[in-house]
């Protein structure tokens, strides 16, 4: 085993050797090495986060037919550092009547709920924090900590707008958790495991080819979970100024902002892991773990780009439309899809792989078609309720 095949393990063993050589206890050395590994991962993520600000601003600019940051450094690459310096030296205000402790914990929890997700992300076959056997559920659990941070921020700011923003955001997150959880069961059915690494390893055929509808529902639920347009009604500048983070200034606001960007990038990564083969790309991941990391980061960026593409193209929807869309459409469709997929999987398990793929895709198409027919008839009755029955216009003689 050498460094280029399993860098993390080799580095960890070397460091443990160094520490024990200094007369440190083996257990303490192991704990220290694990701690350093976590610290390294978080540092890399935060550095990526800095450049995500730049990427986001550049991509928005292109979607809006602008150039974006272009003054500081080549392609405006130094702009995010200037932004960070500005955030750091801004006055740190606390509103009167705010609940100080809760107010200060909320931004930390928000960032934490994103960083904790990376504990289960497999960067390469041999490089992952922990191969949790409930990895799929872990995403939802981390999301619920994010929900908690938002409600804490909104409530402790002692501001009407922030409370209303938090209510809306939490309503979105709590309700879209359900279709997301249901849809996450579909990769679990295909791979027979809830662990991320096992899901990636069993994607000889990317799961998007087996269940494109599930990939679409996951993307929609992820965008809602992120609170990005078209589900950014919690921000609603025209009604709520900025939503739950309205009273935060300086780096505390920066924590929410950076957390949101990293969250979007992370969900791009989960989309890649669940449906696009994660670090796998025609066997390239077996060549070197570093290549595998490059592949998964590239796929995560692609997912992030799709999320940005949706954000800057689609309009914001109202809260009642959002709730109706989730509870009356997305959740039933997700549940039906899970049941159909499980049934098809049980029927076709031993069958030829071409038959398996065709059956899965056909069942997806049928579920999508039937649910769209339902939506069409519901929309028709809704329209007739508003407009009245169609008047037959007599031909003018």
């Amino acid at each position: 085993m050498n460094f280029w095949n399993d860098p993390l393990k080799v580095a960890a063993e070397w460091l443990t050797g160094v520490f024990t050589g200094w007369g440190m206890n083996t257990v303490a050395a192991n704990v220290l090495v694990a701690f350093l590994g976590v610290l390294m991962l978080i540092t890399i993520l935060m550095v990526i986060d800095i450049f995500l600000v730049w990427i986001e601003r550049k991509v928005v600019a292109r979607f809006q037919d602008r150039i974006g940051p272009n003054r500081l450094g080549p392609f405006g690459l130094i702009q995010p550092f200037a932004d960070i310096i500005k955030l750091m030296i801004k006055e740190d205000t606390t509103p009167a009547g705010a609940d100080k402790v809760v107010y200060n914990i909320a931004p930390m929890l928000s960032m934490m709920s994103v960083l904790i997700l990376w504990a289960v992300v497999p960067l390469a076959p041999v490089m992952l924090g922990v191969d949790l056997n409930a990895g799929v559920l872990f995403i939802i659990a981390a999301g619920s900590i994010g929900t908690l941070s938002i409600i804490m921020a909104g409530w402790s700011s002692n501001n009407k707008f922030s409370v209303i923003g938090a209510f809306r955001q939490v309503a979105v997150m709590v309700s879209f958790e359900i279709p997301m959880l249901a849809v996450l069961l579909i990769p679990t059915i295909f791979s027979g495991s809830m662990g991320m690494n096992a899901i990636i390893q069993s994607q000889d055929i990317w799961f998007i080819f087996l269940s494109p509808l599930a990939a679409l529902i996951f993307l929609i639920a992820a965008i809602a979970e992120l609170g990005r347009a078209p589900f950014d009604l919690a921000e609603g500048e025209s009604e709520l100024v900025s939503g739950y983070n309205i009273e935060y200034s300086g780096m505390k606001f920066g924590m929410f902002y950076a957390g949101e960007l990293l969250h979007a990038f992370t969900f791009g990564g989960f989309w890649a892991i669940m449906f696009f083969g994660g670090y796998r790309f025609f066997g390239l991941e077996k060549v070197s773990p570093f290549l595998a990391i490059a592949i998964i980061l590239f796929k995560a960026l692609l997912g992030y780009w799709v999320i940005m593409w949706v954000k800057y193209t689609v309009m914001r929807i109202r809260i009642d439309q959002m709730l109706a869309f989730n509870w009356k459409f997305l959740t039933p469709v997700a549940f039906v899809l899970v049941m159909v997929t499980a049934l098809m999987n049980a029927l076709l398990r031993g069958a030829d792989s071409w038959l398996y793929i065709t059956g899965m895709i056909l069942s997806n198409v049928i579920v999508a078609w039937v649910s769209l027919e339902f939506v069409r008839s519901a929309a028709k009755t809704e329209r007739e309720k508003v407009e009245g029955p169609k008047q037959v216009v007599e031909a003018h003689h």
Binding site: A134, L137, F138, A141, T147, L148, W155, V170
Partner: protein, 176 residues
């Protein structure tokens, strides 16, 4: 031998810290005046229980604990408090005159549980190491759905939850 001993103390230290924090948080839940703070302390308590599950190698239960209790129930509590109260703080005393009865019940329950566990043969035994590749979630799923396992209690619980759901919908349903 020495390594084994060290490992045990490491786990024990973590368990003692987590247990103490969980107990203090639980005490804060029933004593703080501000209801939202009480709900947040409840979140801390539930999180402590999740960590205890992790220490017992029950990762799945720990994650479910966070999803269900923090993600759903605690959030619901906070929502209910915020929507039903103008001010989240109660003006009266946090404890009423029956506090000693509650404390007595808590102590008696603890004593009873401790006594029951004391008489159990596995109480002082070391837990066996989990073999590698042990599929805990698969075993749990099989146990919950197999007729030899717990399929009946599982289904009864599902029916109970369904009844609660139907009841909630009926109460909220706007009869025109």
């Amino acid at each position: 031998m020495e390594k084994e001993f060290n490992y045990m103390t490491g786990t024990q230290i973590i368990f003692l810290i987590v247990g103490a924090v969980t107990l203090i948080a639980a005490l804060m839940v029933v004593t703080v005046r501000n209801l939202v703070h009480a709900a947040l302390w409840l979140v801390a308590t539930l999180f402590g229980v999740a960590i205890v599950y992790t220490l017992l190698n029950a990762g799945f239960l720990a994650v479910v604990q966070v999803v269900v209790y923090i993600g759903a129930i605690a959030i619901l509590f906070i929502f209910a408090v915020m929507l039903t109260r103008r001010q989240a703080a109660d003006t009266g005393a946090a404890l009423n005159s029956n506090w000693w009865a509650g404390a007595l019940m808590a102590v008696l329950t603890f004593a009873g549980l401790a006594y029951l566990l004391q008489t159990w043969s596995g109480f002082s035994k070391q837990s066996a190491a989990i073999p590698s590749g042990f599929d805990a979630i698969g075993q749990l799923g099989t146990a919950l759905t197999s007729p030899q396992g717990y399929v009946l209690p599982f289904e009864v619980a599902s029916v109970l939850l369904l009844a609660a759901l139907v009841g909630a919908v009926y109460l909220a349903f706007n009869k025109k």
